[in-house]
């Protein structure tokens, strides 16, 4: 579509879009014409400053509350991810709905007021535990796998919740409005009491992570080993999951169902791109969680019409995708760089070995002893057919080696080793032939076949493996470069 219309769509279209989705769902209710003034309103500096300095009471409560929730969820979610139970949080949070609705009805019937936060949270917690128990029962006593168990419990409990909620909303006493905030959250209208509850939860979660750090990491990384060491793995596991239940339940009424799931899953997944150490992962995950909560809440406070919960999720997943690309532990960019560096190293080592073997062959063919000074180095065209390399790649590799000071180019366009380069080449050839000797001695490979095997592995052999190889080959002269066990490709053939 033309560029000029994009801006119009951004400012006007979003309203249309959502309206359309709704209208389609309702299938008739088309007065979309009145939507043209919908759009994002960019905040002024004044407003930006007010939000950033937390000078507004409501904003302060919301930002602090969501940041602390992000922290608590980041901590407990790390264990969820490491135990490969990410989607348990999804099931668990859906399973709380019947508990909330039931607690509401019971409290309304017996006390007249169904909106006591503690009562609702207790109901939610009971059903979260029931749901988790049901998942475990189904996995244990039927042929269904974890995915089906999670799906069955999620949908049936949620359906039950909606059915009970249906009754709750038809009750004459007790105001059921606001119960749905457990599903969608009411982030922007968070109360001080909510924020305090979250603060307590976050504090407890952090404390437990510190106290049980050793036990939790043992269960996360090697449950079987922990079991053989006499640790109560099942109880510790249950304890970890209880932490998740508490965070979920507390987070539900503050920010809604999907957001809790997102906060439990996304920050720990993000932290994994930066470290493999549990302590660092926990700290990073808590940090990412808190940052997403804070930024998300701030952005939604600054701009009208952006629901806080959804913006927090989008912030968390932006961090995720950033880390997916730039992370230092398995990030995409790092993977590409590593691959590029390895490619370069392979190119250089291949070149060095080719040139070294060129010297050996010319010495052999001329019948003279290898005397580096008197032998003609190869030209580019002579080097080209000896391996399947491109002209461009070969030129680049040779240029790089010259820049490194390992090669020099003579006046007749021939390539020679510098003394430094010769030593480097010796080391590479030695690694290659060491591996060849090993293959012949231990892997019963025919001498004619070993070149290919050694060709790929020589680039990744380090000092330790060289020492081991030398120890395993008794008739190997230390430091020397032996002759090739197979015939080298002759020059000019």
């Amino acid at each position: 579509m033309p560029g000029s219309s994009i801006k119009r769509i951004v400012s006007h279209g979003l309203g249309w879009v959502a309206a359309a989705a709704w209208v389609w769902l309702q299938s008739d209710l088309a007065h979309a014409g009145g939507l043209s003034d919908t759009g994002l309103q960019w905040p002024g500096w004044q407003e930006l400053l007010r939000v950033l300095t937390l000078s507004d009471y409501n904003t302060r409560v919301v930002i602090v509350g969501t940041a602390l929730l992000g922290l608590a969820a980041g901590l407990s979610g790390t264990f969820l991810i490491l135990r490969k139970r990410a989607l348990l949080s999804d099931t668990l949070s859906h399973a709380t709905l019947p508990g909330i609705a039931l607690a509401f009805i019971l409290m309304t019937v017996f006390f007249g007021d169904g909106k006591s936060l503690i009562g609702l949270i207790a109901g939610a917690a009971v059903f979260a535990v029931l749901g988790t128990g049901s998942v475990l029962l189904i996995e244990r006593y039927s042929r269904l796998k974890d995915d089906a168990a999670l799906g069955v419990v999620l949908s049936v409990y949620f359906g039950l919740g909606i059915a009970i909620m249906g009754i709750a909303t038809r009750m004459e006493t007790g105001n059921s409005a606001g119960l749905t905030s457990f599903i969608y959250g009411k982030t922007a209208s968070m109360l001080l009491s909510d924020a305090l509850l979250i603060a307590v939860t976050a504090f407890v979660a952090a404390l437990l992570c510190l106290l049980f750090f050793k036990e939790f990491s043992l269960v996360c990384f090697d449950a079987d080993f922990a079991l053989t060491q006499g640790w109560p793995v099942a109880r510790l596991d249950f304890f970890m999951m209880s932490l998740v239940v508490v965070v979920t339940v507390v987070g539900l009424q503050a920010v809604g169902l999907i957001l809790v799931v997102a906060l439990l899953i996304i920050p720990p997944s993000t932290a994994r791109f930066w470290s493999r150490r549990l302590s660092v992962m926990l700290a990073l995950s808590a940090g990412f969680g808190a940052l997403s909560g804070m930024l998300g809440a701030a952005i939604s406070a600054l701009m009208a019409n952006l629901p806080a919960g959804a913006v927090i999720v989008m912030t968390a997943s932006s961090l995720f995708f950033f880390s997916l690309v730039f992370g230092t532990n398995g990030g995409l960019l790092q993977m590409v760089l590593d691959r590029w560096r390895l490619g370069k190293k392979v190119m250089h080592e291949n070149l060095l070995r080719e040139l070294y073997e060129w010297q050996e062959i010319t010495a052999q063919q001329s019948g003279a002893a290898a005397d580096a000074a008197r032998i003609d180095g190869p030209r580019l065209e002579e080097l080209l057919p000896r391996r399947s390399w491109s002209v461009h790649g070969l030129q680049k590799g040779l240029r790089q080696l010259i820049r490194k000071g390992w090669l020099r180019l003579s006046a007749e366009d021939r390539y020679f080793f510098t003394p430094d380069g010769f030593l480097q080449a010796r080391a590479v050839v030695r690694k290659h032939r060491l591996w060849e000797a090993y293959l012949i001695a231990y892997a019963d490979t025919a001498p004619g076949q070993v070149d290919w095997g050694a060709d790929t592995i020589e680039h990744v052999i380090d000092e330790r493996i060289i020492a081991e190889l030398e120890a395993g080959l008794p008739d190997w002269t230390p430091k020397a470069v032996p002759e090739s066990p197979h015939e080298l490709i002759r020059i000019g053939v």
């Binding site: 990410a86 999804d90 039927s142 997944s269 019409n305 952006l306 997943s317 997916l324």
Partner: protein, 432 residues
């Protein structure tokens, strides 16, 4: 409560959407991707919005295309993230669907001030209202939702029928499928596209949460009841239809017991299918808890029956006289079980293998031949274990004691020939 044409149409719509979900759900459950249904049904939300952004119309077709596009995109993203980052499937699913759902919420919320918009409708659905919006077809007034879901069911049935072989191979053995030249990946994405389309078709009538319930639960129930794919497909369809009927009936009757008019039909349909699942979980003949317990109990009963017969036979043999009575208490003490002996004795009396006399119980003619058969198995095994395998100490007796319950005629013949037709067992007892 009065049954009206509205109730009939609600049930018809419910059945159609439940069945179209359940049919595809079988393959999700078999591929261990049940939560994919959950992920896709949340993730299509922005698909609806973007479809409208591009097409500018609110027809069903662009919406369908948008949903299918985002559905496939979700599947691709989940696979890609999993592969690129090394996260497990659950985590990458969690990251992707929550992100897309949040995006959808933001897009929809932009208009919340101007239209009466409640994302809850997407979750709960409004099946109670569907009969009010009708198409007129051949003079019949048919709810739009029934038509949409009916078409979707037809598409899904055709897909499953035409690609039955491909679906089966790619579901059970993707590696084999690839070597046979079927693309497991293509099948995966086609399936995901259909799941997304089905989700969208069912959305307006039953809501996304019921879509997930109907995708997973009927198939899971059927999986507990049968080992055959065709049977599983059929059972899941029946379960889905049954759940739709029971759900609506439940929604308008159960609340009445406690003084309310009705409750959410979609919610009750999910509850109904959950109850059916629970029934299968408990009572399925082979994979249910109680089914397995009954099978276990029958086996124990048979073993006890055999043991009583064996004991009576041996007592007679020792005493050297026929029809020697043994007291029930002695049997119980010897076999170290109480209740099972009573049950087994009752069963033996019923089948006239033993009869009661004032001194105790005695083998009848038919009981004697059954007992002789059992003792034959026992002693043949002992002879075989001792003679052929050099396994002669007391443990050979225990092995024989276990094996005797599962040895049939053919096995006896084999044992006889393998042990060179013995007449006496290692303890010098005659083999009957």
């Amino acid at each position: 409560m009065e049954w009206t044409f509205i109730d009939s149409w609600i049930i018809v719509t419910g059945i159609l959407s439940a069945m179209s979900c359940a049919l595809l759900g079988n393959y999700l459950v078999l591929r261990r991707m049940s939560m994919m249904g959950d992920a896709i049904s949340h993730a299509v939300l922005p698909g609806l919005a973007i479809a409208f952004l591009i097409s500018g119309s609110r027809d069903s077709l662009p919406m369908l295309v948008g949903a299918v596009g985002v559905g496939v995109l979700t599947a691709v993203l989940i696979q890609a993230i999993g592969k690129l980052s090394g996260l497990d499937q659950g985590a990458s699913m969690g990251v992707i669907f929550t992100t897309l759902f949040a995006l959808g919420l933001i897009l929809i919320r932009q208009a919340a001030d101007h239209v009466d918009l409640d994302p809850g409708c997407v979750l709960y659905g409004a099946i109670e209202l569907t009969p009010l919006d009708v198409y007129t077809l051949f003079g019949w007034e048919i709810p739009r939702a029934a038509v949409t879901n009916g078409i979707m069911l037809l598409v899904n049935v055709l897909f499953v029928v035409f690609f039955f072989k491909e679906l089966r191979i790619t579901s059970f053995d993707p590696a084999l499928a690839t070597t046979m030249g079927f693309s497991a990946g293509l099948m995966h994405y086609v399936l995901m596209a259909l799941v997304a389309a089905t989700t969208i078709a069912a959305f307006e009538s039953v809501g996304s949460i019921l879509v997930i319930a109907m995708l997973i639960v009927p198939a899971a129930t059927a999986h507990l009841l049968t080992d055959r794919l065709v049977a599983m497909l059929v059972i899941s369809l029946v379960v889905a239809a049954l759940a739709a009927v029971l759900g609506h009936v439940g929604a308008i009757t159960i609340p009445a017991w406690i003084g309310f008019r009705d409750t959410s039909t979609a919610g009750m349909m999910a509850v109904a299918v959950g109850v059916l699942f629970l029934a299968a979980f408990l009572f399925a003949p082979r994979h249910g808890i109680i089914g397995r317990m009954v099978a276990q109990g029958l086996l124990t009963l048979r073993v006890n029956r055999d043991d009583i017969l064996g004991m009576l036979y041996r007592v007679q043999e020792l005493a050297g006289q026929r029809s020697l009575a043994v007291k029930t208490d002695d049997l119980r003490k010897a076999l170290l079980t109480g209740g099972w002996v009573n049950l087994a004795l009752a069963d033996l009396l019923r089948t006239r293998k033993v009869r009661r006399t004032p001194e105790g119980v005695v083998l009848t003619e038919s009981g004697l031949s059954s007992a002789a058969n059992l003792i034959r198995s026992h002693r043949l095994w002992e002879s075989y274990l001792c003679g052929q395998m050099g396994f002669c100490d007391a443990e050979a007796h225990y092995s024989a004691h276990q094996l005797e319950h599962v040895t049939d005629e053919a096995m006896q013949e084999r044992l006889k020939s393998a042990a060179n037709y013995p007449t006496l067992d290692p303890h010098r007892k005659a083999i009957p």
